[in-house]
């Protein structure tokens, strides 16, 4: 799957935003029609039929509906990562052209912030969006501090009949930058807090799907068992390239590593080539440092490839103040 | 195989600036008695040499000036005097195409001719009619000629003579000639001018090599588009495939294969020898083909290969694709057949400066690799 950024403009300023660096330094680049066609061709050649549209806020792109319908007509499964915050006019336009598609073709991931840090206007707009597209929407939540509250999400899922899956992201450090993320020392506390919601997940039959970069050892064996059941047997503690493509046709491994060995899409002939390129880089980093904890170096779960040792962005942070004497590739 | 350069006429309707033939001011046209004798002589030769064939090249001057009746008579003589051997006579034609007609084409067809060799020049006033070499009218008539050839499904190709005025526009000339004929591609030859060069058209071997060198990389990149541009295709085949097929001046085996026959029956080594009036082998009135093909003077030419190998060309790595070049060029330049031709320079410079760097091939046809 490839993540394509339609625009760097956004409607919010989330404290944990992975894309903050990207958006702060850009002049709000927007993906053009011919580049979209190029990307679609590129993915087709790579036999990849899934595409995620991101931003900033992708629905802010003036051709968002055109692009989405175009990709759908080319038989891509399109997933849109959105805040759900859009003007009434945009919502009407989306409704007219997108609401008829089945979930096998079109889906939304709506990243939700706690109502306490959202304005009433934002909340109202999100609710309007969910009332139209709830049946296609998976809620998302990014954990950026050890203490957090996600009860509101269960309510929202039920109220708007959202898909019964919560995409949980863990805010990661952006090497070389200062951003809000869960510190390494607080990770176990965060995991405990999250485990406290297992009963709710079970009661409401909602799958808690962790995004990448979470180490397995944050959870006890009992918690892992519960997670396994809640995820219907599909559980993974991986960390690998997600492949993001910017509106300027630059590619990078994933947003935390958006400063790290950026390349032009035109340097590659397929998505697999890009994946291989970044996988090789990751492998070099993990040779230098196994994971985010010291114990990762000798961890049997890492050797058995059940866990990757947490987000590689944490690992890169280890090298930031030292002399550049390791593999040259681990320095951006 | 014997190649006859048959010049029943050396007059021409054109006044091409570099032509050696028209300088002879030879107005005579071979009479029918002599024409008949030619066919009788050829028949005798072929009867005595059952394994031999003859390539009979109608040359000039301008052959179409002979008129259709001449070819009718030639056809009649062939049928009458070569009834058992005419299948081993292959007719070819060189013509400037400005006088060709449907009637002549029909006769060419009967002689088994399906293609015509010609020449063309995009630069004005090099080939043309009259004192001022009017190329506008000449070119129009040439084009009418090729339209007629196309209508009759004849193929045609051109030799392009590279001269001083060509040097400033090699690629343009290449593109023009390949646009003019997309099926048969040009054959680039260096101008041969011996004696006074009134119009300053002569070029050095290096200049010719540079002309070819400007075209060569373009040709190589697109050789599927232009499959038979000479000398490139032949050189590449010789060098890359070691498939040695060369024109007469590079093959080193011309001594006993060629014969020039002039309008009065005089014979010579080859067409150019006839044009320069050197190496006379006698008249066909008094001599048979056999005698002319085995004239003792030909042995001297054959010996040239041995002499060159012992002297000037002893260590030359291009020997196998050059063989010292044309003996006539050597004679006209140095008054000595036993020297290598000045065109060897052109070959050497082209190979070293262009062919090898562009292709990445190394050329080695030195005597030790080519001796059998």
């Amino acid at each position: 799957m490839a993540n394509v950024l339609l625009t760097e403009k956004c409607v919010r300023a989330c404290p944990y935003c992975f894309a903050k660096k990207q958006m702060d330094t850009s002049a709000f680049a927007e993906l053009s029609w011919d580049n979209l066609i190029y990307i679609a061709d590129f993915l087709e050649i790579s036999h990849e039929q899934k595409i995620s549209l991101l931003g900033g806020e992708p629905t802010l792109h003036p051709h968002f509906v055109d692009f989405t319908t175009y990709l759908l007509e080319r038989n891509f499964h399109v997933n849109v990562f959105t805040s759900g915050i859009m003007s009434d006019q945009k919502l009407m336009e989306c409704q007219q052209f997108l609401s008829g598609f089945p979930p096998e073709k079109l889906s939304f991931t709506c990243n939700m912030n706690h109502p306490d840090i959202s304005s009433p206007n934002e909340t109202e707009r999100i609710n309007k969006f969910l009332s139209v597209f709830g049946h296609l929407t998976t809620p998302g939540y990014n954990i950026y501090q050890a203490d957090f509250d996600i009860e509101f999400i269960f309510q929202t899922i039920n109220n708007y009949n959202l898909r019964r899956h919560l995409r949980v992201g863990l805010a990661q450090p952006i090497p070389g930058e200062i951003n809000r993320y869960v510190q390494i020392d607080d990770l176990k506390k965060m995991a405990k807090k999250f485990a406290g919601y297992f009963d709710l997940f079970e009661r409401f039959n909602i799958i808690p799907g962790f995004d990448c970069g979470v180490p397995m050892c944050l959870f006890t064996d009992e918690e892992l068992g519960k997670l396994f059941k809640l995820n219907k047997g599909r559980l993974s503690f991986g960390c690998g390239p997600a492949i993001d493509i910017g509106p300027d046709m630059m590619v990078w491994s994933c947003f935390p590593l958006s400063n790290f060995h950026k390349r032009s899409l035109f340097e590659f002939n397929s998505l697999q080539e890009i994946g291989n390129f970044y996988n090789n880089l990751h492998a070099k980093i993990r040779t230098e440092i196994g994971g985010i904890f010291e114990e990762c170096d000798n961890c049997p779960q890492r050797y058995n490839e059940l866990c990757m040792g947490g987000c590689i962005a944490h690992s890169l942070n280890h090298f930031k103040n030292e002399a550049t004497v390791r593999f040259k590739e681990i320095y951006s | 195989m014997a190649v006859v350069i048959f010049k029943a006429i050396e007059k021409c309707n054109s006044n091409c600036i570099y032509c050696d033939v028209i300088k002879k001011h030879q107005d005579e046209i071979m009479n029918y008695d002599l024409l008949k004798l030619i066919f009788i002589r050829m028949n005798d030769y072929l009867t005595d040499n059952p394994d031999e064939n003859i390539t009979f090249t109608w040359h000039g001057g301008e052959v179409c000036l002979l008129g259709p009746d001449y070819f009718k008579v030639a056809l009649k003589f062939q049928d009458e005097y070569c009834s058992g051997t005419k299948t081993r006579i292959e007719h070819q034609v060189q013509s400037n195409l400005t006088l060709i007609s449907q009637e002549i084409i029909d006769l060419f067809k009967k002689l088994g001719i399906k293609q015509i060799g010609s020449s063309f020049e995009p630069i004005h006033n090099i080939r043309g009619f009259g004192k001022k070499r009017d190329s506008h009218i000449y070119n129009r008539k040439f084009i009418e000629g090729i339209k007629l050839l196309n209508k009759n499904h004849f193929t045609w190709g051109v030799i392009y003579v590279v001269h001083r005025l060509s040097l400033k526009m090699p690629l343009e000339i290449f593109y023009y000639l390949t646009n003019l004929n997309t099926r048969s591609h040009p054959n680039f030859n260096q101008i041969k001018l011996f004696g006074e060069d009134k119009n300053n058209l002569a070029i050095t071997g290096e200049e010719f090599a540079d002309f070819l060198g400007a075209i060569f990389p373009v040709w190589l990149k697109n050789k599927d588009r232009y499959p038979n541009v000479q000398p490139f295709s032949r050189l590449l085949k010789n060098i890359k495939d070691r498939d040695l097929s060369m024109v007469c001046e590079s093959a080193g085996i011309c001594s006993h294969n060629w014969i020039y026959v002039g309008p009065d029956g005089e014979t010579s080594q080859c067409g150019r020898a006839g044009d320069y009036s050197v190496l006379s082998y006698g008249n066909l009135i008094n001599n048979t083909f056999e005698e002319i093909m085995n004239h003792s003077q030909r042995n001297q030419l054959a010996e040239r290969q041995t002499v060159l190998l012992q002297k000037e060309c002893a260590d030359c790595r291009l020997w196998g694709i050059c063989h010292g070049g044309c003996p006539l060029d050597a004679f006209m330049t140095y008054n000595d057949f036993m020297k290598k031709s000045p065109s060897c320079d052109a070959t050497k410079i082209f190979i070293e400066k262009y062919f090898e760097p562009v292709t990445g091939l190394h050329v080695d046809f030195s005597p030790k690799y080519t001796e059998t």
Partner: protein, 287 residues
């Protein structure tokens, strides 16, 4: 059936005089397409209807009635994507080739959109200056792209028909080469090309003269027109891409920075396409 296809307006009196001819009707009336198909096919064979519209493509009201009718629609611009989207599924069912003008920048993107959505399409060259870079980019997409897409003319036509040892004229795409297409008006005046017809440059008159048109001197001269161009010895005669362009842009100034670059690249693409066809898709490495 005669060899030549006739390109004519929809005129029932004229059609009544024609028998067993292959016909291209040109019209700008979208309302009579079904009627044209019915009427022409009574005694002749409809090859295509060439529709010239002033409307953007997205404003053309396509109809289910047009199914199985061979259509060539010429529109100056693509229009609004969302409007086009409403008709996309219908357009896909039709036997249609959509041509957009070379004078509207978005059309170059629109043609990629159409082609990638499996709709046959093409560029037509409006009079006046061209955006050669955009044309070149589009050509590269049409010929070199490895993703499946519908043909974009005239690029695909030329790539398919090109042979290095021949001259290839892409005018056939626009029903405009007299060895196949002759243009005739209501008064039965016959011209060799659309441009000739519009400028009253006729070669003959009357339906009956069609039978001997191959012997018409002006017709024969036209079939050899490339030689006249060679005789003029203008820039086109010396251009490496002459054999695929045939001096269509002879009036252009500054050819070295415009048409020559494009057509040279186009010829390289044609060679590439030819080589792939003849090597079963494999490109033998070149020395």
């Amino acid at each position: 059936m005669m060899d030549h296809f006739l390109v004519c307006p929809f005129n029932e009196k004229l059609l009544a005089k024609l028998r067993q001819k292959a016909i291209v009707i040109h019209t700008n009336d979208l309302n009579i397409i079904r009627y044209i198909d019915k009427e022409v096919n009574k005694s002749n064979k409809l090859h295509a209807i060439k529709i010239q519209t002033e409307k953007p493509l997205s404003a053309v009201a396509f109809s289910e009635d047009w199914k199985n009718i061979p259509l060539a629609i010429y529109s100056p611009e693509f229009g609004i994507y969302k409007d086009f989207l409403h008709q996309l599924h219908l357009i896909r069912k039709l036997n249609v080739r959509i041509f957009l003008s070379s004078h509207h920048d978005f059309n170059f993107i629109a043609l990629r959109i159409l082609s990638s959505l499996n709709i046959s399409c093409g560029l037509y060259f409006d009079e006046g200056p061209q955006n050669w870079d955009a044309i070149n980019d589009l050509m590269h997409y049409a010929i070199y792209s490895t993703t499946k897409h519908a043909p974009i003319e005239p690029f695909d036509y030329l790539a398919f028909h090109y042979e290095p040892s021949e001259y290839t004229d892409y005018s056939f795409v626009y029903f405009d080469n007299p060895t196949k297409y002759l243009h005739i008006n209501d008064k039965e005046q016959i011209a060799l090309t659309e441009k000739d017809l519009l400028s009253n440059n006729f070669i003959d008159e009357g339906i009956c003269s069609l039978d001997n048109i191959s012997e018409n001197k002006k017709y024969l001269d036209f079939t050899n027109i490339r030689y006249d161009i060679m005789l003029r010895m203008n820039e086109c005669a010396f251009c490496p891409a002459f054999r695929i362009c045939l001096a269509k842009f002879a009036d252009l100034d500054n050819k070295n920075e415009t048409c020559k670059i494009f057509f040279s690249d186009f010829m390289d693409a044609a060679d590439y396409s030819f080589s792939r066809k003849n090597n079963n898709g494999n490109q033998l490495w070149q020395l």
